[in-house]
């Protein structure tokens, strides 16, 4: 088997815009499920609503494309009904942190045995570029035409505080690291949360100084700083510029988890 076998080839090319980072994260996720050796019949992909949430529709396993914000509630139901199934949730920043915010914190608190991949494009992509809870301060969107004046949610910090067993962040530029993080998340019992920043050239990029798809990828490359390095800098009292993206593994622990296979 190969990653290609996990794709519904008859559904490709997918509807994502040219250069949309969602496709890259699908590649990384499928590579991880292939490496861990899960069977297609025993794996379910779940999502809410949004561009990112269309991902399970291109994957050749059983899947649930649910209502906006409720992916984690449906995934919890599947896991409790049949703990034998392996479950991966794809969710957008709006889906997870805005309308679905409460499901998110409680799924982390219950530490239910799911792997959640959040495709954070810092915007509501599907509905035309409204600001989301992760739109950075100063970021332009159709609802923040003068730049967002609110601080953005730190999704990894939230998942850590709420009790998830595994928490990591990468970007669609870091394909290897992201794949490894998702694989670690799949292996780890309990709630695994992997956030991937992704470019949305259509609704975020072109409003925010990223004229070409490559510009945002270059930005991800030059503006990420490893968690370990950031910790060392903090120790020495050095300033970490606020626009830097913290990347790497935040938590790997063994709190009691729900829905783990006996």
């Amino acid at each position: 088997m190969s990653e290609e076998d996990w794709l519904r080839q008859d559904r490709l090319p997918h509807i994502f815009c040219a250069g949309c980072g969602n496709g890259t994260v699908i590649n990384c996720t499928l590579s991880a499920v292939e490496q861990i050796g899960w069977k297609r019949q025993e794996t379910v992909f779940v999502s809410g609503i949004g561009c990112s949430s269309r991902a399970p529709g291109y994957i050749s396993t059983d899947s649930l494309h649910t209502t906006h914000g409720r992916a984690l509630a449906f995934a919890t139901g599947i896991k409790l009904a049949n703990p034998q199934l392996n479950i991966v949730v794809f969710t957008g920043d709006g889906d997870l942190a805005a309308i679905g915010g409460n499901h998110f914190i409680h799924a982390c608190r219950r530490n239910i045995d799911l792997t959640v991949v959040c495709l954070n494009n810092m915007i509501y992509g599907m509905t035309g570029g409204q600001g989301s809870p992760t739109t950075p301060m100063g970021g332009l969107s159709t609802t923040t035409p003068y730049g967002s004046g609110e601080p953005a949610f730190d999704l990894c910090g939230l998942a850590t505080a709420a009790g998830a067993n595994y928490v990591a962040r990468w970007t669609s530029y870091h394909v290897r690291e992201l794949t490894r993080a998702i694989l670690t998340g799949l292996e780890n019992p309990g709630f695994s949360f992997i956030e991937s920043l992704v470019q949305c050239p259509t609704n975020y990029g072109r409003r925010n100084r990223f004229k070409q798809v490559a510009d945002q990828i270059e930005y991800f490359k030059s503006h990420t700083i490893l968690v370990e390095k950031a910790a060392r800098m903090k120790e020495k009292g050095e300033m970490i510029p606020p626009e830097m993206i913290l990347a790497g593994e935040f938590v790997r622990r063994n709190r009691p988890a729900l829905g783990v296979r006996p």
């Binding site: 794709l7 090319p13 250069g19 496709g23 890259t24 530029y173 394909v175 798809v213």
Partner: protein, 90 residues
């Protein structure tokens, strides 16, 4: 192994041109029938995966395939020439 871009899937984002250490992918020049400018391959036989996959028994590098958002990059086995019997008529 031969590197190939599936023209039915590629949307011409040029992300592959950013990541290849050998700069095998070059931005294309002409739009195809779907109006998409698919990258061109510059001496693809230099690709690490083309040369070494069979030796190591696993994918080497593969970064272009991973980053391609449209699942358009793959490798094809080189075809062994098949001997064929041909009836020669004089």
């Amino acid at each position: 192994m031969r590197l190939q871009i599936d023209e039915r899937r590629c949307k011409g984002c040029n992300l592959c041109t950013l990541v290849c250490p050998y700069r095998i992918f070059k931005p294309g020049k002409r739009a195809n029938r779907r109006g998409i400018v698919v990258p061109e391959l510059d001496r693809p036989e230099r690709c690490a995966n083309c040369r070494l996959r069979h030796l190591y028994g696993r994918t080497l590098c593969g970064t272009c395939q991973m980053i391609c958002p449209d699942q358009a990059i793959s490798w094809k086995e080189d075809e062994e020439p098949v001997p064929k019997k041909v009836a020669i008529e004089y």
